[in-house]
Each structure stands twice: as C-alpha cells, then as structure tokens.
C-alpha cells in the first residue's frame, strides 16, 4: 500500500472523526446543560468534515497517476 492509499484511509478516518465530534457537540447541546460551545463544536466539525471531503476529492484528482501499491 502506497502513501497515496494510506492517505485516503487517513482522510476517510478524519471525516468519520469529524462526524463523531459533530454528533458529540450537537447531542451535548440538546441536553439541559448544553452550552453555545457545544453548538460551535458541532457546526465546526460539520464544516471540517466537508472541507476534508473536498480536499480528498482534490487529492484524488491531483495524484491520479500515482499507484495505490
């Protein structure tokens, strides 16, 4: 597996992490003790996840010619 392939796995894992943090932020915000910080975490995580998806697409396009092995 080349660095290109592992990087795709890494970006995917980062997107999943962003989703987990977003879920954590929003679910904390929904509780009676929820704060604005929790909401900010949720929104920022969704934005980060989307940014990582865009980056992943760009990366795949840019390194089209490099092998996955």
């Amino acid at each position: 597996m080349s660095l290109k392939a592992l990087h795709i796995v890494f970006v995917t894992a980062s997107v999943v992490l962003a989703a987990v943090v977003a879920f954590w932020g929003f679910s904390n915000y929904m509780t009676p003790e929820g704060t604005r910080t929790d909401l900010t975490y949720g929104i920022a995580s969704v934005a980060s996840g989307l940014a990582l998806l865009v980056y992943g697409r760009y990366f795949l396009k840019k390194l089209k010619k490099i092998s996955y092995l």
Binding site: S2, L3, H7, L17, W24, L52, Y55, L69
Partner: protein
C-alpha cells in the same frame, strides 16, 4: 554484491524492500496499540458506575492538537508529491511545516501534562473533596516559622546542609477549585450541581489524602498517560526521522533521487500511522 529491490519494486509483489519493512513494522505497532486500546476498553467497562472520570482533560487543547496532526499528515503527503514532480524546493518548504506541526503538538501536549501535575484532589477528614489547581502551600519548621511554597512538597520535607538539616511540616494548602460531596460529583460534573470555583485554604489537620492527577491518581489517568505518552514518543521518533531525511539526509536527492523519494514515502507511512492512532485516541480519551 548489490542488494536487489532497494529502489525499484519487485515485479511479483510490486513493492521495494523498505516498503515491505515499514509495513511489517507497522503491523507490530498495530498489535502494541491494539493491546493498549483493549486494556482501556476492559478497564472502562469494568469500572463501577460513576467512577470513570469525564471532562478531566482540556477538550479545546485536544481539538487543537488533532487539527495540528491532521494538517501534518496533509503536508507530509504534499511534500512527497512535490518530490514526485521533481520539485525539491517545494518539498523542503512543505516538509518543514510538518516538522513545525510535530513541535507544536509536543508543546501543547507538554502544557496538558504540566496542567495535570498541578491539578490536585484533596480528601478531607469530614468526607468532602476539594478538586482544583494547587496555588500554594505553607510549611512550618521546628521553631514554628512559616515558609510558603508555590507547589506541594509532601506532608513534610527536610532541607539544608548535612548535620544542620531543617524539617518542614505541612501547615496548609490552597487549592483553586470546587468542593464536592462525592467522587461521582467530580467525575461527572454535568450530573452534579454547578460548581463555583474559588480558593480553598485547607489545614493539614483536615487533610485525609492529597495527590495530583499524575498517572498514579486513578486507572483513567494511568491509561491516559500510558497511551498518550507512548504516542508522544512515536511523534518524537517520527519527527526525528523526517527531520534527518529533510536535513542531513537530503544529500541523497543529488546522488540517488528515486531512493530518496522512497525514504520520504516510508517516513510518511509511519507518520500517517502515528496520526491515525491519535484519531482514535482523541475521541476515546477526551470526548466519550
């Protein structure tokens, strides 16, 4: 005699020697961290209700470190791609950002560790707890003269040249934090009432037990320091290798550029593994 496949891949496997080597090494690393993660899960599942701490760690600092490490993985791959495009100058700039990210990560981690060593929990004789940062302590010598200390030096300590040593005994400690009736209240602050932080001056006679949030504090802190400490050692190791290839090892770019690119790729594979470990560590230790 030339060793085959040091630069070009073997036709049947499609891999050069160093890549086989790094993947075998990473497989052993997966087993190491896998065993520690399993230990964490078993310890957490086996902990009695209300005893597993939440919100002990600084989430904004942990988030910042996560962003720093994800950025470093992006720069490490962009640096490798620059070499593939024969742009050495660009590689040098981008890889220096990777090294800077590793340094930032370690500095932030050291701040977090320092904070834990200054964070104390005092169990009082009336059964109440005081949890917070120790701001100072007062000691008395044999002549009842007071001496103020910024930190905590134990219930007593001796000082001075041999033969004329003075013994100092703890008189009181000052902790900036909150008071709680039970451990569960400290471990899960959202369940308990809102705690107002203020200074508590606690007399030594009132102290049943005092200790900081070092690895000895409880099971959670022990596994936290083990996992993050081992991870930090990997960050240091990875940064040293990347730094060597970037600095003194860069002479190879002129003599054997293909082999140099392979070296950068292999170091990048290790760096990605280290960052992937953090991607699992962050939610498990900081959020859940």
């Amino acid at each position: 005699m030339d060793i085959p496949y040091t630069v070009h891949p073997r036709a049947d496997t499609g891999l050069y020697n160093a890549k086989v080597g790094i993947w075998l090494f990473l497989a052993s690393e997966v087993m190491l961290f896998g065993a520690l993660f399993s230990s964490y899960i078993l310890l957490r599942v086996g902990a009695p209700d209300g005893t597993w701490p939440h919100s002990v760690l600084n989430i904004p600092l942990g988030t910042l470190n996560t962003i720093v490490l994800i950025s470093s993985s992006i720069t490490v791959v962009l640096a490798w791609a620059s070499l593939k495009l024969n742009n050495f100058a660009r590689y040098r700039v981008i890889q220096s950002i990777t090294l800077l990210c590793s340094l930032i990560f370690l500095v932030i981690k050291s701040f977090e560790y320092r904070d834990k060593f200054a964070h104390y929990q005092v169990v009082q004789k009336d059964g109440k707890y005081v949890d917070g940062h120790l701001t100072g302590s007062v000691y008395l010598d044999a002549d009842k003269k007071t001496r103020e200390e910024h930190g905590f030096r134990g219930l007593s300590f001796t000082e001075g040249p041999k033969g004329a040593q003075k013994k100092f005994t703890l008189e009181s400690v000052t902790v900036n934090g909150f008071e709680a009736k039970s451990l569960a209240e400290i471990n899960n602050p959202k369940v308990g009432v809102h705690h107002e932080h203020k200074d508590f001056k606690i007399a030594a006679a009132q102290i049943k037990k005092i200790g900081n949030y070092g690895p000895w504090h409880n099971t959670y802190m022990a596994i936290y320091f083990t996992l993050t400490g081992l991870h930090a050692l990997h960050v240091i190791g990875g940064a040293l290798v990347i730094g060597y290839i970037w600095g003194p090892g860069a002479a190879m770019w002129k003599t054997d550029p293909e082999r140099y690119i392979n070296r950068v790729e292999v170091s990048g594979l290790f760096w990605h593994f280290v960052d992937l470990v953090w991607i699992f560590l962050f939610p498990v230790l900081y959020l859940l």
